[in-house]
Symmetry: C2
Subunit: 400 residues, 2 copies
């Protein structure tokens, strides 16, 4: 049990000897309270703007989620002897940025569900969702400027630079991945994948929280360097496991949940499966990967086209005319179909690509552990230090 010192927001981290998924989730839940409170404070209270902008943002930000990024930031800072109050605004900013990326990602990927609820663009339209994401990027700046008074100028500027770099890495990783999808890139090697994941996931989700927390705690450079390596490796492992879980979810919830395959995301898993496939299979897979994901509107079009085809089949006199009229519609809905996605899933199963990806995640998790051990001279035993270790276990073993 952590005794928060007086004047600090209260964080209870239950301390038990053996790491367990439950213990990590308890710890995440304990960090979450003060972070979400701080996050709420960052949103302007202007009554008029609330209805059209800040309430939807608040609702999105407060949906049940792990709050991994701010928790890592707080835990690192506390593990190195820093205070919670000094770190809370930065932690909340990291969660705000994460939400901005999620909202934009969902528009970009055409994903309809976020944290078990409709994605923001489903609720308010793509235009308002893009704008809400921009608003969250903008709102993230103010607390980082206010940090100058809270933690001193030098640390505040360094945190700002750390986070600015992370945001740049994120958009770079996203650009590389979108380019693969857009151009139907087939042969992605593991090194390409790791580059993208270091940029788009590890940097803002793990390196920036860890390094910011360490800067705020006043950690020495050598320690920050080890922590940065720890965060990079655990971040890569996290994304690989995330990809694997997305595909394993298909086993539990049915094929329609295989979001990454519908989207055509180039993962370590898919790259491995393509390498193991026959020439003919790979050609078919590449054709499938070049097809777009079906949109909501496509369903209406597909239904009408099917009905009209039945009419054409039954009435020879109008068959040719109907077929001709349907041609432009058919072209429009040349999107991936359920059997396309099932085919990709089968290639992955046959090649054992999920296990292959898991083994690479294990290597990264081991590296993370080694880097964290290198920090031992600066990090005394504490529930917060344990939490950092537990994050590695969490990444290895989480099943959702």
């Amino acid at each position: 049990m952590l005794n928060a010192s007086e004047g600090e927001a209260r964080v209870d981290v239950t301390w038990r000897p053996a790491p367990s998924l439950e213990r990590i989730e308890d710890a995440l839940a304990s960090y979450r309270g003060p972070i979400m409170e701080e996050l709420g404070r960052l949103l302007p209270a202007d009554a008029r703007m609330r209805a059209v902008l800040y309430d939807p943002i608040r609702e999105h930000a407060l949906r049940p989620g792990k709050g991994l990024r701010p928790a890592i930031c707080l835990a690192t800072c506390r593990a190195l002897g820093g205070g919670i109050e000094a770190c809370l605004p930065t932690a909340a900013v990291l969660e705000m940025l994460h939400n901005a990326f999620l909202i934009h990602d969902d528009v970009e990927d055409g994903s309809l569900v976020r944290r078990d609820q409709p994605a923001m663009h489903v609720l308010y339209g793509a235009a308002a969702a893009i704008n809400a994401g921009d608003a969250m990027l903008a709102l993230a700046l103010r607390p980082l400027l206010d940090n100058t008074a809270l933690i001193g100028l030098g640390k505040a500027l360094r945190v700002l630079e750390t986070i600015a770099d992370a945001v740049r890495h994120t958009v770079e990783g996203q650009a590389l991945e979108l380019d693969w999808i857009r151009h139907g890139a087939a042969a992605i090697d593991d090194r390409d994948y790791l580059t993208v994941v270091e940029k788009k996931t590890a940097s803002y989700s793990f390196v920036a929280p860890t390094v910011s927390g360490a800067i705020i705690a006043g950690a020495p450079e050598a320690c920050i360097a080890h922590l940065s390596r720890f965060a990079q490796s655990v971040g890569v492992a996290f994304q690989i496991r995330d990809d694997v879980l997305n595909l394993r979810a298909g086993e539990r919830w049915g094929k329609e949940r295989l979001d990454d395959l519908w989207e055509g995301k180039r993962t370590l898993v898919l790259a491995h499966a393509l390498r193991q496939a026959s020439f003919a299979e790979r050609s078919r897979a590449e054709r499938i990967l070049r097809k777009p994901r079906p949109t909501v509107n496509d369903d209406a079009v597909v239904g009408s086209v099917d009905a009209l085809e039945r009419i054409a089949a039954a009435e020879p006199r109008v068959r040719d005319a109907i077929e001709a009229a349907l041609a432009p519609l058919r072209k429009q809905v040349d999107a991936k179909r359920p059997d396309d996605v099932a085919f990709l899933r089968e290639l992955i199963d046959r090649a054992g690509s999920l296990d292959h990806a898991d083994s690479i995640a294990e290597v990264q998790a081991d590296r993370a552990l080694a880097a964290l051990s290198d920090c031992a001279p600066w990090i005394p035993a504490s529930p917060h230090a344990s939490f950092l270790h537990d994050i590695i276990e969490f990444v290895r073993r989480r099943d959702h």
Copy 2:
């Protein structure tokens, strides 16, 4: 003729006695050179990232445009005795932010053309365009941090706060406007419109450039306050005139150019026309305003639906079946049609709403002139001071 002092980037502003649109455009062109050079420097040179992210961004940013925002920033700074080198990075950042907003706006509005070339989402898809806009928001941060070394910490932080506030105002204004469009708001009064325009246009396009330039030049508070009022009024006048020009362009280039009406934007012009219309006309206009703008895909659907309707009309035996099959498609393409937009345009013409809006722009321009005159004690005569006056004339008289 301005003689740039040694060691400064060279800006030639031709100095002639009487204001003319040509003189203003010459001045804009002179400011543009060093700004675009600086803007190019802000983009990372990483070879791999250039192809997928930074080259498309560069191409968009360097398209022929007025460069109004950075020119205002430079002119204000120079008019108050500040140097060009001190101001260039901030000016370039303002142009970068403007590009980010344009790219996101074009996705949000479904606009296909930007600066006489295809909008970024048309060239690279909506996903890459949203991400490119995010990248430009992210890249804007670094030079503002580097300002601490260039202009000193106090000024750098104040410029950062000024620009952070402007970005927040912009997304707030955008949120209000998108909410009107989304909910088919009919009765917008002039005051509502002015609030939105102050937020979404005046703040980042005029107030932030002017105030940043003045801060960098070290202007006293009283002067900054007057300049801020000047910028706010000229910004509102600029947006009103922009709305009017969008509609007048329809006279020259044909109805399909009436972008704002297709989008259903609530302008001062449209609000006035609705107030002057009969009850029946207003009801029809409101129904039209609730319809979405047609998308590119709609054209294919509309063509097929028309062809299938002709088949149905000619073949009574399949008429009902075809009509039933078409129902979901028809619902999907219930977007605005050319005669809808022509009806709105006619209401505007009949009510004299363009002249009404122009008269309100004149009032704002007069206010801008008065506020600028209040700055006389701090701003000696110079080509840069003249440029600030000329901006008011430019807003009043520009025809494109």
